[in-house]
């Protein structure tokens, strides 16, 4: 900790930091009064921001989720509907809810089993100092720099049924066998996932590459001396050493798929096969249809689902270095 005396010169009777100081009640503190004030400010201000910006909205959402409030005027006793929003959602009464949950999990599975491993694979390849590795890194990382809204527009142009690149490049428009990448509810989710992966692969690659660079090269040499081949070296030696990075990657993938929103919203406001929990929240509570109470109930459910990866991430990040 920086010495405080240089900022505010100690007065004659002010004790030095680290000295035991008698309080009025006769107890002794390790910290001076000034230190304590600084600490209170350093803890208090973030705490206040945390409460105002995170806890207050969270608690308010839970409160709203028990009402049928439409966002206009005050909430009166007549607005309280108990748990009926949740009952309606979970019983399948709201026809879009379970499809949205399913799509979020498909999103998660796709990123976990296809996009993230692909990113790791690219990272491993680029770690081998192939010729032009910097160029490949830049190329794969470029989509990460773009906002998801831009990614959405780019891929909408690729997938557009009659004017899009893909259908025209394969001659499907001319031959009349148009594939409706964006409008067919059976395939449009996968079209969007391809767009999402385009960005996600680069993201994972960079994080993993940074991790690989920090692996002690002597480990690989030792593995080589022991007669391990490339695949064995990676899975038996490098991969276990990368455990902290692996956790970060798994958690980031989970968070990415839970907060998935932009691409589907850009394409068709998240309907017709592209329902996602985040979009249901928006369409219900922030659009012209103001079902704030109902939208909040979906938000609370998403919050509960999100707590899993968040807790996993925090416990990993907070764990003392071994």
């Amino acid at each position: 900790m920086a010495r405080t005396t240089s900022i505010s010169p100690a007065t004659a009777d002010a004790p030095e930091a680290g000295e035991l100081v008698a309080t009025r009640r006769g107890r002794y503190h390790v910290l001076t009064r000034y230190d304590r004030r600084v600490l209170a400010a350093m803890v208090g201000i973030p705490l206040l921001l945390d409460v105002v910006l995170i806890w207050w909205p969270t608690v308010t959402s839970i409160y709203y989720s028990l009402t049928n409030w439409d966002g206009i005027g005050d909430i009166t006793a007549g607005n309280f509907v108990g748990l009926s929003n949740y009952r309606f959602l979970l019983s399948g009464g709201y026809f879009q809810f379970w499809p949205a949950v399913a799509h979020n999990f498909i999103w998660l599975a796709w990123l976990t089993f296809i996009a993230t491993p692909l990113g790791i694979f690219f990272a491993v390849l680029l770690d081998r100092d192939v010729r032009g590795t910097r160029i490949y890194q830049s190329v794969f990382y470029l989509p990460v720099v773009l906002s998801l809204v831009v990614v959405g527009f780019i891929w909408e142009l690729q997938f557009s049924p009659t004017e899009g690149f893909i259908n025209n490049a394969f001659g499907l428009v001319k031959s009349g066998h148009i594939i409706d990448w964006l409008g067919n509810p059976h395939i449009n989710l996968f079209a969007v996932l391809i767009a999402a992966s385009w960005r996600h692969v680069g993201y994972m690659m960079v994080i993993y590459l940074a991790g690989l660079k920090s692996v002690d090269p002597t480990l690989r040499e030792a593995a080589k001396v022991d007669g391990a081949n490339e695949v064995q070296t990676f899975f038996r030696v490098v991969f276990p050493v990368m455990a902290p990075i692996n956790t970060v990657i798994v958690v980031l993938t989970a968070i990415e798929s839970l907060r998935a929103f932009d691409l589907a919203f850009i394409i068709n406001q998240g309907k017709n096969g592209l329902e996602l929990l985040s979009i249901l929240i928006t369409n219900n509570s922030i659009s012209e249809s103001t079902r704030v109470g109902f939208g909040s109930a979906i938000a609370v459910i998403l919050l509960v689902v999100s707590l899993g990866p968040i807790v996993a991430f925090l416990s990993q990040a907070m764990r003392p270095a071994r």
């Binding site: 966002g71 990448w181 509810p185 017709n272």
Partner: protein, 456 residues
């Protein structure tokens, strides 16, 4: 500043003082002057109408969703002519992207909105009026109502009977086609369902997409639902369905879906992934034969094609279905309006200016000037200069005037939480994905969804 203009007594009309008058100006002065004298003579009970509710000079603000360049400029010009006509009233325009404006309307009207805002007639207007988020303008309406037909008068009334808006333009939904394409293939205008389907199959064999259709945006399909339901089940049932008095699992709705399934095979391929502009381009490029859409399709013709393409654009009313409701000649003709907010922080000061602006909007001359700059919708005022209309607009005004029942459009007639992407848009897309399968469970879902919505 010395006023170098003459104010014609009893009117807002100002004339230059330099007396370089044409004969028309003299007639105008004489006409307005005697009209003012006449009003003053018989208006013992009403103290000089307009001057009591409106104010000159000062400032006011306007929240606008006219974010496209053409209507945006037209509105800016309208406002500057208001400024010069109303003693230099300074108008601050806040233009917001069209979709964003609609999505945020509830919080906008409850926060710190502008004094006046652009909006839609129908349930969408009545909803905010009944929530106390709009200011009634009966006094303005009393001054201008002679300039509007009965239909428009009804369209601006709230549930409480007060007037909340000034209608400024409207447009019909109809079946659009290219005259040159119809001429080249010798097609004739279908007037009944069988002719319509026969024409579709003829077009298909001629290599055309019979009906351009696009529903990525979700709302265009509602236009087809509206017209089929109006033709088959009548105006009263349709309005009842929009407002919850009729049930979605009614067999009458099943009939609509069954009828609709007969023309879905003639739609543009991959329509669920196309925007309405892309479908309009199919019509423009002579790939498609017909397109059921609003008159605003003409803007796309002008923007992507040109004046020659626009000249080829024509339309006919949706064909009759052989029911008793054909005689209603019902159609969707949404009306766009301006309203005065309630919670504007400056409204106390600006109410007079805002009302003067509303009166200005009700003038035929104002609406004509706007129309000339930004065609695509028809002026509402009786005294709008119809000689300025192009043939398409004239015809559009004509079919609306022949309609005995007029609806606004599904998302303006029904509650927004039902009509939005969560509800009706999604239901119709779901139906269109497999139009021939049974709609029983779909209709049950629709009714269940309606029942789940909170009180309004």
């Amino acid at each position: 500043m010395p006023d170098d203009k003459i104010l014609v007594p009893g009117t807002d009309l100002k004339l230059p003082l330099d007396l370089n008058l044409t004969r028309r100006d003299v007639l105008k002065i004489a006409g307005y002057g005697s009209l003012a004298a006449f009003i003053a003579a018989c208006g013992g009970a009403t103290p000089s109408g307009s001057t009591s509710v409106t104010a000159k000079g000062g400032t006011m603000s306007l929240g606008s969703y006219q974010s496209d360049s053409v209507p945006k400029k037209a509105l800016a010009d309208l406002v500057s002519s208001f400024t010069s006509a109303n003693g230099g009233t300074k108008v601050n325009i806040n233009t917001v992207d069209h979709g964003t404006f609609q999505n945020q309307i509830t919080s906008y009207l409850q926060g710190t909105p502008e004094d006046v805002f652009t909006w839609f007639s129908g349930h969408r207007m009545r909803f905010f009026a009944s929530k106390g988020l709009a200011t009634p303008i009966d006094d303005v309406w009393n001054d201008v109502k002679s300039n509007f037909t009965e239909g428009f008068a009804n369209s601006v009334k709230g549930d409480d009977g007060h007037v909340y808006a000034i209608p400024t333009s409207y447009y019909p939904w109809a079946v659009f086609y290219r005259k040159d394409v119809f001429a080249a293939h010798n097609y004739s205008i279908p007037t009944n369902w069988d002719d319509f389907k026969a024409l579709c199959s003829k077009m298909k064999s001629d290599g055309l997409i019979p009906i351009a259709f696009a529903d990525k945006d979700g709302w265009p399909a509602m236009g087809t639902f509206d017209i089929l339901n109006l033709r088959m089940n009548g105006y009263d049932f349709h309005v009842g369905l929009c407002t919850g008095q009729q049930k979605w699992n009614d067999s009458k709705v099943t009939d609509v879906f069954k009828k609709w399934a007969e023309i879905v095979p003639y739609y543009s391929p991959a329509f669920a992934g196309l925007t309405w502009q892309q479908a309009a381009d199919q019509l423009l490029r002579k790939q498609a034969g017909m397109y059921l859409l609003g008159l605003f399709v003409s803007q796309e013709f002008l923007a992507t094609g040109g004046q020659a393409d626009l000249g080829q654009l024509d339309f006919f009313p949706f064909p009759h279905l052989g029911t008793q409701y054909d005689a209603e000649e019902a159609l969707d003709a949404p009306i766009d309006v301006f309203m005065v907010t309630k919670k504007s922080p400056t409204l106390n000061n600006d109410l007079g200016q805002a009302k003067a602006f509303m009166e200005f909007l009700a003038k035929g001359s104002t609406q004509t000037a706007f129309y000339v700059e930004s065609p695509g919708a028809i002026p509402t005022a009786n005294d709008a200069d119809q000689s300025k209309y192009d043939p398409l607009t004239k015809k559009a005004a004509d079919i609306v005037s022949k309609a005995k029942k007029i609806t606004q459009f599904f998302d303006r007639d029904s509650r927004p939480d039902f009509a939005g992407p969560n509800g009706m848009q999604q239901f119709l897309l779901h139906y269109l994905a497999s139009p021939t399968s049974s709609t029983t469970s779909l209709q049950a879902d629709m009714q269940k969804f309606w029942d789940s919505l909170g009180p309004e």
